[in-house]
Symmetry: C2
Subunit: 367 residues, 2 copies
């Protein structure tokens, strides 16, 4: 259940109620691909203000398998996280990770990137797996066309996505549990196809609507335009989720247009590669300049890393490939993203989102 | 300053006073090679009962360099640990890690295993580096012969170690700080040479005595024999440190003979490789048998890993090469070692060390 509480321009603030608790929107979902955030404990994410984790159906289906997770008492218990969990349908990973994929009317056949085994994923199967995992928010199986596919292909693809969405909804109606089911808008970089997809999904009716197939290589401006065109077609009283996006700037642009939910590997993946988000822009911690830099990483950040360590120490850990490097970097980047979302919610609450966005971007570019 | 408080047979319980606080003996030092425990925060080690960390002079000299650490305010501040730190002299790493080494009367020349640069380490330089790092307990530079060196070589080597120890002591006397300086007994697997080394070092006089050059490939019984022969030659009122040892069984055998201090990479390194210490013996977590094993890793352990996760989840993390695997495994293995030391101290306190040792070994071998 979604309650829209407040607006600042088109930016929205609300509450999303799940079987594992309420979430303040807009929010960012920290990635726990295979049932674990890379290097952090679930309770650390919670202490940083994390409200929900995202796990990947594709990964968990391949390893350890949803049967094992179900026997363990579900994903929450398995990974020791009692807050909400969203799982994706696996569609995007089949598209981006699997070695061979063969699209059929009934579903998609693909080869595991781990052991080459052949797997057939149908809309019904995607829901069944997610229900066995026990997620609070589950996603319809979709087909995600690349950024440069021809219009004719994209049109056919979105129609397939709609038919699959209907089958997911039907299966979910019959096998009712506490999960909320979201549809995924596709349509590539074509405004009319995006609108068509949004309308078709709204007719079927979902607990929330995701925008998929963006941030796949197109210019930012194209992505923003797609949001501008698509969002008015979606019902105001349902949450909107922009999948796999993005940089702090992208998030601000999307919130401004009315997006409520985000996920992205950027904070965790960049942490592993030593790219650290700060209020003054990105710090590349391996740089020689930090060798004797005994300053705090980000004086505007109150996270454990910033409170206890210097840039010189973080550089030393990174250069030395110490496991603590990944951990302290990830802690900071996740803190940065979750703090950003908190500030966004506060700004919307004060109906000053536009000012906040402008100030944030000005500071981030100042260094 | 060392206070011997109690004995149970030859096993000793006491207090070692350092510039950064008192340590209950016997104790185990968790390895923080390059100024970081692999995957754990210093405060986590403290919360598990860790009293002291050990860092490696060789590694810190090469990277980031003792000058950087000194400018950072010393190793304690650099790594955010306010308890005692012991640094080794670098001698053992020159022996085991460096590509080329050339022993000279004055010191040892070696090539960095990182970048091939040529470094000349003298006894004086080894002390100077450790003092710049700011360690509480520092070690003399020694030469560590292999387990199969000929007697003549070992004899010459121990005499070199003694001469270097004298030079370390002299340098330390002149450049006095709050650090305690330990000598290192060598002598290979030859009882008479071990005794000679112990006597020579005792004559020079140190704050504590380490036994080096054991656990380098010899059978356990030979190591125990060397301890039996050497320890009576060392002063009762100084702490004795068995370097780089070892398994829980080795530790029990050595405590029984009167050793007060240990360090070993085993708990942290084995954690990374998925070998987990439990009260019923070692668990190889990757084993297929744990795939649906929803039991606690070690029901006798109260660590975070054992309280919150199943063997099935730990196996999943290990198989998936998740960074959280290293972290949860390390946390547990370090907890196991530190708990073992706590139980050892309690058993000595009750003058029941022999019974404790017997019971521990019987249970560990029961699975």
């Amino acid at each position: 259940m979604f309650e829209l509480r407040q607006k600042s321009g088109k930016a929205r603030r609300g509450i999303l109620k799940t079987a594992h608790g309420e979430i303040q929107t807009p929010f960012f979902m920290t990635i726990a691909t295979a049932g674990a955030v890379k290097g952090l404990l679930p309770e650390e994410v919670k202490n940083l203000g994390g409200q929900i984790l995202l796990s990947n159906t594709y990964h968990l289906h391949l390893r350890p398998g949803e049967e094992v997770v179900e026997k363990a008492g579900g994903l929450h218990k398995f990974m020791n996280w009692d807050g909400p969990i969203l799982t994706d349908s696996g569609g995007y990973q089949v598209f981006s990770l699997a070695k061979i994929r063969k699209l059929k009317a009934d579903g998609v056949e693909f080869q595991s990137h781990l052991d080459g085994s052949r797997i057939f994923l149908t809309p019904e199967k995607a829901i069944e797996i997610q229900q066995k995992l026990g997620a609070d928010i589950i996603m319809c199986l979709d087909e995600c066309p690349g950024a440069h596919e021809e219009r004719a292909y994209v049109k056919k693809s979105l129609e397939l996505t709609t038919r699959w969405a209907k089958r997911c909804k039907d299966y979910h109606e019959i096998h009712k549990d506490k999960s909320m089911l979201f549809g995924i808008v596709q349509g590539g970089m074509h405004s009319d196809l995006r609108k068509e997809s949004a309308k078709q999904l709204t007719e079927i009716g979902f607990d929330g609507y995701a925008i998929g197939g963006l941030s796949v290589g197109e210019p930012n401006e194209v992505m923003y335009k797609m949001l501008d065109e698509t969002l008015p077609e979606l019902p105001e009283d349902k949450p909107r989720y922009l999948m796999g996006v993005g940089t702090p700037e992208d998030i601000l642009e999307a919130v401004e247009r009315g997006i409520d939910m985000f996920d992205c590997a950027l904070p965790t993946r960049n942490a592993r590669h030593g790219y650290l988000f700060t209020s003054k822009g990105v710090v590349r911690i391996r740089n020689e300049a930090h060798k004797e830099d005994f300053a705090t990483l980000d004086p505007d950040c109150g996270c454990y890393t910033c409170k206890n360590y210097t840039r010189a120490y973080l550089r030393h850990l990174f250069i030395s490939a110490e496991p603590l490097s990944l951990r302290l970097n990830t802690l900071h980047n996740v803190a940065f993203y979750l703090n950003l979302m908190k500030k966004i919610r506060e700004a919307i609450g004060k109906d000053r989102f536009g000012d906040f966005k402008k100030a944030f971007l000005a500071t981030a570019k100042s260094s």
